[in-house]
């Protein structure tokens, strides 16, 4: 009998690491059915394009300046860097959330690697290494372009700046934003580990998706709120004259790190004026005052930087320790059974009642509900839509405060909260229905469908009306009661319901695909459609808010607006019914336009399939 050979762990570990990285990209970041190279190329192009656009947009005031003074520039750059750092933390965290389930050993890992003669610790270490490589690559890839471009744009018109100074600025900026990105990644990894440790594996599996969605909402809200933070606010937060809000504090730590590393380079740049210009009077005084104000912040920068340097290792150690402890064994492959509570049963029977016992409407209703709550891409889309609505709510409340005012004096932003939240959710929902939860499983619906999409579509829309219109309206009602009083708040909510329902029906008027079962085709012209869509949403929201504020002042006007909205709703429903009276073929296999179409290169190729 021969003794078992000892497996050499190092090469096996490298192989398993490569497997995890490959699967992280193939299964978790991009669709397993997509072309990996094409998807990665598109993703890379998107990151670079967005980075260039954002950097250029932020730097436009420096690029446009004829004479740029170092003092004001040093102060002004603080809020820019705050934005870069906040974005780095939030986007890294968001990328981490996209691979939330792959951040720990999964049952599929146990199924594939469990039978092989590989020690569990090798698999655990490889998984951790794959996660670390992912976090580091994301932090670097996100920040590489802005780290080079921003310091160059910032100092383009600072004539006293030399090449060595720019390199120093680039190094400082890159260090702080990459550290911030790593902080975002490790924070999420640590959150996951600590939570898993606290509640145990079985309960964690049950709450994991809810926690993931909640974190997506928080992260996207933070990302959307970051550009609204004004320059003076960042200065006051650093100086301590206004206490910084706690979500902004980590960004301030890394801002401190950046300023201690390279901030003085701009502040101490000598003024070099163009020929035939003299530097006297107000500009000189302004420059000196700004430099003095910047120098006065140096002790705070040092204090913040200390926290930054400390925070990354602390969070990283916590994340790694909890990861190693919670993943010390391969996970149990058996899935935990889902408890069927009395509440669950009563919700189901209520849902059956709402769907009028029509089987296809029930199919649409329940499948939509199950997809929105359980499919990872759909949860993410809804979470982003919720975040957009929450951001508007927070901005409107921050601008106006929760004060009871007379209706004519009530700010429009407060009237627009309902519509903005609802329209964000409906727009997100409209996009979500175009994404199949599992492309390869579409055949089941294609085989079972009996040719009339109307019942199914009614069920799909009914889920949206309950989950994305009624529930948010009820959640916002207490706020509106506090703002407007009970009567006006109820009428305001009813109007919101009518507008949201009309919008939902309107967005599905020309829809000839099968929700959640047609192949996904990306929007062809996002650079035109997205800004146009956003402008329309803002115009409709504030336009309607103005009309509603005017109408709610008298009973007659309120009734007239109610009648007008009811008529609008009826018209949209009638158009929808008329459109769908004639049975048109539903497109299950919508194909994107060929990339070479505009060049005419595809015309000579015959497609037989």
């Amino acid at each position: 009998m021969t003794a078992f050979k000892r497996v050499d762990e190092a090469p096996v570990g490298r192989l398993v690491l490569r497997l995890f990285l490959r699967r992280l990209i193939d299964n978790d970041v991009i669709s397993p059915h997509a072309d990996r190279h094409e998807s990665l190329a598109v993703l890379g192009a998107l990151v670079v394009t967005l980075a260039v656009f954002v950097t250029f947009f932020i730097s436009s005031e420096y690029l446009a300046a004829f004479i740029q003074l170092p003092g004001p520039t040093a102060l002004s750059a603080l809020s820019d860097r705050f934005l870069f750092i906040s974005a780095s933390i939030a986007v890294s965290a968001l990328a981490t959330l996209m691979v939330w389930d792959a951040l720990a050993l999964e049952p599929r890992d146990a199924a594939i690697l469990g039978p092989l003669p590989i020690p569990a610790r090798t698999i655990t270490r490889a998984k951790l290494a794959a996660a670390l490589v992912f976090g580091t690559v994301v932090a670097i890839a996100l920040n590489a372009v802005p780290s080079v471009l921003y310091p160059m744009f910032l100092t383009m018109n600072l004539r006293g700046m030399d090449g060595r100074g720019i390199v120093h600025l680039i190094a400082g900026h890159a260090t702080s934003v990459v550290m911030a990105g790593l902080f975002g990644f490790f924070s999420l990894l640590a959150t996951r580990g600590v939570l898993r440790l606290m509640v145990g594996e079985r309960r964690f599996r049950r709450i994991s998706s809810t926690v993931q969605s909640a974190l997506v909402v928080c992260t996207v809200t933070a990302l959307l709120l970051a550009p609204t933070v004004r320059k003076t606010v960042v200065h006051d937060w650093i100086a301590g004259t206004t206490p910084a809000r706690w979500p902004a504090r980590p960004a301030l730590w890394f801002l401190g790190a950046n300023e201690t590393l390279a901030g003085h380079i701009v502040a101490e740049t000598p003024v070099v004026l163009p020929p035939r210009f003299s530097f006297v009077g107000f500009p000189k005084r302004q420059d000196e005052e700004s430099r003095a104000a910047y120098r006065a912040l140096a002790p705070q920068f040092a204090e913040l930087a200390q926290r930054a340097w400390l925070s990354v290792p602390v969070v990283a150690c916590l994340a790694i320790a909890t990861f190693l402890w919670t993943n010390r064994r391969l996970p149990d492959q058996a899935a935990g059974s889902r408890a069927r509570s009395r509440l669950h049963a009563s919700i189901r029977s209520m849902a059956r009642w709402l769907t009028e016992a029509n089987p296809e409407t029930q199919a649409g209703f329940f499948f939509t509900w199950q997809t929105l709550t359980r499919s990872a891409p759909h949860r993410t889309i809804v979470a982003i839509a919720v975040a957009a609505g929450v951001t508007h709510l927070l901005i409107a409340l921050a601008a106006s405060g929760v004060h009871r005012l007379e209706l004519p004096a009530m700010p429009l932003g407060l009237f627009g909260i309902n519509i903005m939240v609802l329209v964000s959710l409906i727009a997100g929902f409209r996009y979500a229905v175009t994404v199949p939860p599992e492309l390869a499983s579409n055949w089941t619906i294609r085989m079972a469908w009996l040719g009339d999409e109307r019942g199914y579509l009614t069920g799909v829309k009914r889920t949206a009306i309950i989950a994305l219109v009624t529930v948010p309206l009820l959640a916002l009602l207490p706020l509106h009661v506090a703002l407007f009083g009970f009567g006006v708040a109820v009428v305001h909510s009813i109007f919101g319901f009518m507008v949201a329902t009309a919008t939902l029906d309107g967005l599905f008027l020309g829809y000839r695909q099968f929700p959640f079962a047609s192949s996904y085709v990306p929007i062809e012209n996002p650079k035109l459609l997205w800004p146009a869509g956003l402008s329309t949403v803002l115009l409709v929201t504030y336009g309607f808010a103005d009309v509603e504020r005017w109408a709610l002042q008298t009973t007659a006007r309120t009734l007239a607006l109610g009648a007008a909205l009811a008529a609008l709703l009826l018209v949209v429903k009638l158009i929808d019914r008329e459109n769908r009276r004639e049975r048109l073929a539903v497109n299950f296999d919508e194909r994107p336009a060929f990339a070479t179409q505009r060049l005419g290169l595809f015309e000579r190729i015959v497609n037989y399939d």
């Binding site: 058996a334 016992a357 089987p359 939860p437 599992e438 079972a448 469908w449």
Partner: protein, 260 residues
């Protein structure tokens, strides 16, 4: 007797590469037809055309005297299909998946609930019925597919490797079930690699090779074509095998035994 299903010169190209060419056969009510052939012979393509999920590049499929492209939805309503690969919505439980299918097929709620409970019980899935399919084994997924195919009492059953992953008991149940369904007038197309099962279940077979039919007819006739007392496996081996299996097996064992 009028043929229930008729494939007429089916041809399918994938980007100019032919997958099948001029495939024709008929199926009558109450019969079981075995579809055989090695990997890449065109079995799955033929099955996908017969389900209506793909359109043929040329040729037609007739069901009960009508071209299925004229009334594709009505045709699908009478077909039960078990695909080769168990692609299911893994975030649903078996019960939820079957409810979705049954509702889309407009089965009345009380009948659907009753049928699902009974079939889950008969296939031994009741204890796992409310767990997400993502945690199911291959055999459990296969049982869900079988239940989904039987839920609406179809006239035509298209089974592509239906025994894949099934345990011994479930496999035996399936082998008993198929003749019972045929005896009740159902038409069954049974595509499989397991020749022993095909030989036991199917009176007629169609053998595909490189996308073309190389033999068709009753199993007994195919045997007669080759040699006396030959099994179906021997017949298929003669028709489609281009290598010497014994020699290849020996080579595999030799390569496996290579050491550094």
């Amino acid at each position: 007797m009028q043929a229930r299903l008729e494939a007429r010169e089916l041809t399918k190209y994938y980007a100019a590469i032919p997958a099948i060419r001029d495939v024709s056969f008929t199926l009558e009510p109450g019969t079981i037809l075995g579809l055989l052939g090695p990997n890449g012979s065109g079995k799955s393509t033929t099955v996908s055309l017969l389900t209506g999920l793909r359109e043929p590049s040329a040729g037609q499929i007739w069901f009960d005297g009508r071209n299925i492209t004229d009334r594709l939805v009505e045709y699908k309503a009478r077909v039960g299909y078990v695909p080769e690969e168990a692609h299911l919505y893994t975030f649903l439980s078996a019960r939820e998946h079957l409810e979705l299918i049954g509702r889309l097929r407009r089965l009345p709620a009380h009948l659907l609930t009753h049928k699902i409970s009974m079939l889950l019980d008969l296939f031994g899935l009741t204890s796992a019925a409310d767990q997400p399919i993502s945690g199911y084994s291959k055999g459990m997924k296969q049982k869900v597919l079988l239940i989904a195919a039987l839920l609406h009492d179809p006239d035509l059953l298209i089974l592509d490797e239906p025994e894949s992953g099934l345990d011994l008991t479930a496999g035996l149940v399936l082998r008993h079930l198929i003749p019972i369904l045929a005896a009740r007038g159902k038409t069954i197309l049974y595509s499989s690699h397991v020749l022993d099962h095909v030989e036991r279940l199917c009176a007629d077979v169609v053998v595909l090779h490189h996308g073309r039919i190389v033999a068709e007819g009753p199993v007994s006739q195919l045997r007669a074509m080759t040699q006396r007392n030959a099994s179906l496996e021997d017949v298929i081996a003669q028709l489609v095998t281009t290598i010497d299996p014994a020699r290849t097996a020996g080579d595999i064992a030799d390569v496996s035994g290579l050491n550094a």
